[in-house]
């Protein structure tokens, strides 16, 4: 199992490094969206709940690009068939794809957080950073699990580019909600406040519930 996950993950990262199809597009999209928000909101800087909202909505839509592309190579170049021929646990594919999406999101945030701090955020990002990284990690886990599920559900349909976001967006509303609520006190103009404990708890619960659900149902998406 661990060997298979490592092999799959290594292959995904290698493919991304070769094609550079997903992560650069996500990062570029996020930065462009910040610029769009600047003009759309007609303000030079944001803070507090507005900052949290702009930041998380942008990340969510950027994540959607990655979710759309997650299984495309498997579908179009026979990756699913090759994987199913191997004597490997199918859950390994779920774990590897979730890990890959988590990694892609983390790299995206390495670009998006500095860009946000530079372009839009009014207070300094440094004092908020440690707590923000924690919130990002919890939210990424939820987005990665649900995104992998939605992507796997959508990839075999004829209208996959439409189905994946239609499925993933409502499913991810609680993540955006909790993450935005958690980051609001971090991004206050007067300097970071403390996070109410229930938001990280909600994120953790969400991650747990969907990790278990995904583990239970993912096999059924693969057999053919």
């Amino acid at each position: 199992m661990r060997r298979t996950v490592a092999a799959l993950l290594r292959k995904d990262v290698l493919l991304e490094l070769r094609t550079k199809e997903t992560v650069p597009a996500m990062a570029l999209f996020a930065v462009t969206t910040f610029v769009v928000f600047h003009f759309g909101l007609n303000r030079g800087s944001v803070s507090g709940d507005l900052a949290a909202g702009v930041f998380w909505v942008t990340l969510l839509f950027a994540a959607m690009l990655g979710i759309n592309r997650l299984f495309v190579a498997e579908r179009e170049q026979g990756g699913f068939d090759a994987f199913l021929l191997a004597p490997a646990d199918r859950t390994a594919l779920l774990v590897a794809k979730t890990a890959a999406l988590f990694a892609f999101l983390s790299v995206l945030e390495l670009v998006a957080v500095p860009a946000f701090a530079l372009l839009l955020l009014q207070p300094s990002v440094w004092p908020a950073l440690p707590a923000l990284v924690g919130v990002l990690a919890l939210a990424n886990a939820g987005v990665a699990v649900v995104g992998t599920l939605a992507s796997a559900l959508a990839i075999q349909t004829r209208a996959r580019d439409l189905i994946a976001p239609l499925l993933a967006l409502p499913l991810l509303i609680p993540v955006v909600l909790a993450a935005a609520k958690a980051s609001t006190p971090l991004l206050l103009a007067a300097g970071p406040g403390t996070i109410a404990a229930r938001w990280p708890l909600i994120l953790g619960l969400y991650d747990l519930v969907f990790a278990l659900t995904a583990y239970a149902v993912f096999d059924f998406l693969l057999e053919d």
């Binding site: 298979t4 292959k11 290698l14 170049q77 068939d81 090759a82 021929l85 191997a86």
Partner: protein, 152 residues
């Protein structure tokens, strides 16, 4: 059962943006096969020199040779081959023969569109028409004309 079958169909089941060696390395890890086996196969199919170029830059014949490597990578007991020699030049056919040909020492199920060549290789012949077995006999008992009659 899975893991003892080698499948070679119309699709190579390899990633176009990875090199041959990377593709086979990945497959080797999936099957838990030693990396030395990859090098051995690349050598035997004459692909060692071009193994570090992405698949999309290779000719179809070369991709087919890599697909043959993938098929026999884990030393399967049963081979399912659909037109295994498609796009291969005579030298390549000779190179893959000991891997997927008669001499490979594996049970093979081959579908072919060339009755003559198919008959020369086979022990048993199965002719299907409309989903029903019309011919099912030893290869000696079946002539090329019998097979051609299926398509009339």
């Amino acid at each position: 059962m899975r893991g003892r079958v080698g499948l070679l169909g119309h699709e190579p089941l390899l990633y176009r943006d990875l090199t041959g060696r990377e593709n086979l390395d990945y497959q080797a890890r999936l099957f838990g096969v030693d990396g030395a086996r990859v090098e051995e196969l690349l050598e035997r199919t004459g692909m060692a020199r071009r193994a570090d170029e992405p698949l999309r830059t290779l000719s179809r014949g070369m991709v087919q040779r890599l697909a043959v490597c993938r098929t026999v990578l884990h030393d399967p007991a049963l081979l399912l081959l659909d037109e295994p020699l498609a796009n291969l030049d005579p030298a390549a056919v000779e190179a893959v023969e000991p891997l997927i040909g008669r001499g490979a020492g594996r049970t093979r199920v081959v579908t072919s569109h060339d009755p003559g060549a198919g008959l020369r290789e086979a022990d048993l012949v199965l002719g299907l028409r409309g989903g029903r077995a019309v011919i099912a006999a030893g290869a000696q008992e079946v002539t090329e004309a019998d097979v051609r009659a299926l398509y009339r």
